[in-house]
């Protein structure tokens, strides 16, 4: 979808929501909702997006919205979808709907993982969107399994004892591919056309679809608000957040940087990695670079094979 065409679609997430200035989740949600052609039933797992778009008595959603606990958005939306199918079967409904679940990385990678895995396995006709900002930002920056190695968070504080988070992030997109669902994609904000196309494809897919989109968090990443989109490009150029999609088991790379940049460029612009540049921590950057290279090689291999 061209951006000019997309601009003619209806606004589904309105202004007046209270996400932070420069939050990537606002951009992602606005674009994804515009790609949907039908009225939607939306659910949000507990997280920034949920609490800041639905502060009573306001809602920023033009569509039906269901509140959820942290762990069960996929279960809720799959239940709504099942009820809808039953109503259609009984002849009580014939309109088409999109069923969309939104979750942050905490509500998707960690706490909501079992309900997500179950919903995908049962094959509901729904779309799950994870906006990954790499920590529990809503409660004040606690580490999640999506937090990259070395990041300073309140539960993996960089100091004398440990230099930030000690583990690498979990590759959730790959785990969703292993569910053998029809469509899985990893998207980014700096390519809005690509994000719109992926969202459109996910909505058109019969059966479960999953999109993992990186969302900048200026508060948690300790980055400047205006760099929100630029940082997602740096993430793609350094291969820290590659863009790919897996359709019916076929891997496809969507963005190949002209020249792969060193991981320092991604780390340097964020305050959460500041301590990695202190003397004595050089080996950590080397380790992260090595891990990123391995991951990139693996992706290239998977995409070339198909």
């Amino acid at each position: 979808m061209k951006l000019k065409e997309a601009a003619k679609t209806k606004e589904r997430l309105t202004g007046g929501h209270r996400l932070c200035s420069g939050c990537g989740a606002g951009t992602a949600t606005n674009l994804i909702m515009r790609a949907s052609k039908n009225p939607a039933v939306v659910g949000c797992a507990t997280g920034c997006l949920e609490v800041s778009t639905t502060i009573y008595p306001f809602t920023a959603w033009e569509d039906s919205f269901i509140h959820n606990a942290f762990e069960n958005v996929a279960a809720t939306i799959s239940g709504v979808e099942a009820a809808y199918r039953s109503l259609v079967k009984q002849g009580k409904m014939d309109e088409e709907f999109d069923f969309i679940a939104f979750g942050g990385d905490g509500g998707t990678y960690d706490i909501g993982f079992q309900s997500l895995s179950g919903a995908m396995e049962r094959g509901h006709n729904m779309v799950y969107i994870c906006y990954d900002n790499g920590a529990y930002m809503n409660t004040g920056i606690q580490r999640s399994s999506a937090t990259p190695k070395g990041a300073n968070t309140t539960t993996s504080p960089a100091g004398k004892v440990i230099p930030g988070k000690q583990q690498y992030k979990k590759e959730l997109t790959d785990i969703m591919v292993a569910h053998n669902i029809p469509y899985v994609a990893q998207a980014s904000l700096f390519k809005p056309q690509d994000l719109l196309r992926k969202a459109q494809k996910a909505f058109e897919t019969k059966g479960p679809a999953f999109i993992n989109v990186i969302a900048t968090c200026p508060r948690g990443w300790r980055s400047r608000a205006e760099k929100g989109i630029e940082l997602t490009k740096v993430a793609a150029d350094t291969c820290a957040w590659p863009l790919f999609e897996v359709e019916e088991g076929k891997w496809k790379l969507n963005y190949k940087p002209k020249k792969k940049k060193p991981i320092e460029e991604w780390l340097r612009q964020q305050g959460r990695f500041k301590h990695l540049f202190k003397k004595g921590n050089e080996h950590l950057i080397e380790e992260i670079q090595e891990h990123t290279d391995q991951r990139w090689e693996y992706l290239l291999e998977m995409c070339e094979k198909d």
Partner: protein
């Protein structure tokens, strides 16, 4: 929409919000310290600012980006000015 002082009896059952998208009536423009100003002469109508705005504050009508920015909701993050390929947007102190 429920307002303070309305009393509990006027709250819809289950605390539902019966009107979609009423957050439009809540202004977040006061968060801003700098506001974006769009120079239409330079603008190439690429719509990148429209796509990137987290607050849906860059408006587009009939496929043309408007220089009337929604200052009621713009939080002044500066993403539009930073991403504009022709530097048509400037952040001006309020």
């Amino acid at each position: 929409m429920i307002k303070p002082g309305d009393g509990y009896k006027s709250i819809p059952k289950g605390g539902l919000i019966l009107e979609g998208g009423n957050a439009k009536r809540y202004n977040t423009g006061g968060w801003r310290t700098k506001k974006p100003v769009l120079d239409k002469d330079r603008c190439i109508n690429c719509h990148l600012c429209w796509a990137f705005c987290p607050d849906v504050s860059i408006l587009s009508k009939d496929g043309v980006v408007s220089d009337q920015i929604d200052y009621d909701h713009c939080k002044g993050c500066g993403i539009c000015a930073n991403e504009c390929p022709v530097n048509a947007i400037e952040m001006v102190k309020e």
